[in-house]
Symmetry: C2
Subunit: 84 residues, 2 copies
């Protein structure tokens, strides 16, 4: 996916998942550094409804496969480390 396009697309995700993919709300996960395949799989599951979540089903509905690949590339590019 394209990281720059993904970053652009991710603006609407920042409310819950943060500017840098670190969650801002207790019931939303961090997305920074998540493996791309995992992000693609989950976004497609939310888009198709096989994974249920009121907000995420709505958010994912309009996404194209390219959008999803770009978002996965963007979040995957935000490398993380455990600082404990």
């Amino acid at each position: 996916g394209d990281v720059v396009l993904g970053k652009q697309k991710a603006i609407s995700c920042a409310a819950c998942h943060g500017q840098q993919g670190l969650s801002t709300v207790p019931d939303a996960p961090n997305l920074a550094g998540q493996p791309e395949l995992y992000v693609v799989t989950q976004l497609k599951a939310y888009r198709s409804g096989t994974r249920r979540h009121e907000v995420m089903n709505l958010m994912a509905k309009p996404l194209t496969d390219d959008d999803i690949d770009n978002l996965a590339a963007w979040f995957g590019s935000l490398k993380i480390q455990v600082v404990q």
Copy 2:
């Protein structure tokens, strides 16, 4: 939850989610630093089957509510930062 008990319980998660909650396989998420409520919600969804995943439904089946709270506390204790 209890971080020490959670760390103990998480030994069986390390194969895919890593010793420090950083994923070792492309289709498994990082769990380090995830918000506790999110982890609790997902483990209960895997345990009840409202969220479908062959491996995770099996892994979550035997977990008690305390196990789940302890796992969430353990993974939540592994603070992360984006290093980009």
